[in-house]
Amino acid sequence: MSSEAHKDYAGAKLGMWLFLFTEILLFGGLFILYAVYLFFHPKDFAEASNELSLFFGTLNTVVLLTSSLCVAVAVSALQKGNRKLTLILLAATVGAAVLFLINKFFEWSDKISHGIFPDSPILTERVPGEVVFFGLYYITTGLHGLHVLIGAGLLIWVFFLVRSGAVNEKDFVTLENAGLYWHLVDLIWIFIFPLYYLIL
């Protein structure tokens, strides 16, 4: 009982948010780099951006937004005591994460097979703006992809906690915090998508 008395939901969530703010500043730094180089090389950025697959970019946006919906509904479902629905939605979210990474794999391998990767002989011969664009593309989507992987890991962990009943309708802050992390992954993609795929 004493462990229950020490539960502090607001504190647990506030701590998670503080961590998420540091993540926002981390990616914020990458977006500032992007903005400055876009300012110096708008034409090169547009040229390079046109080489990215609009199809895969849009598909991954839809995948992440839908997975975010699944996590959001999963929290409500658990609060209502519907454990089965929560488990289905968590599994669906992990499935979406895997789908996202598969798409990313196709995108990256396509670029790499065309000789476009950091420090490649083909890329370094191109204009400076395009070199910077692809450098930033790899580091930003790479770091984001790492977050997708970590997020999926967290959701798998919470899946088992929900299944065992350790996380339940009375004690669900772990699910909420893992969900917050997943939404952050979605949030960052919302900015990566227009900046890298839609620049004309």
Binding site: I24, V36, V73, P194, I199
Partner: protein, 94 residues
Amino acid sequence: MDLEAGHIVPYRTFIFVWITLMVLTLTTVLVSRMDLGPLNIWVALGIACFKSGLVIFYFMHMQYERLIFRAYLFVALLILAIFIGLTFFDVLYR
């Protein structure tokens, strides 16, 4: 206390937010294919900000949290805005 127990958001709200996010995604793709000059990037960023607002306030429950959460969010975004502002102040007037 209700705040401790957590507010249960109806599924309907989330599905409505998701539909809005999908429509906004379609909008931002379509608008990006039109040539509006420098306006393109601002429209894209505007839509992205609106989408992230929906995610933060509904999916991430910010709408139902205590005021202190919003104050923290405001401070984090303010710091980011200061970083961006100072960087461009340097870049533009170098």
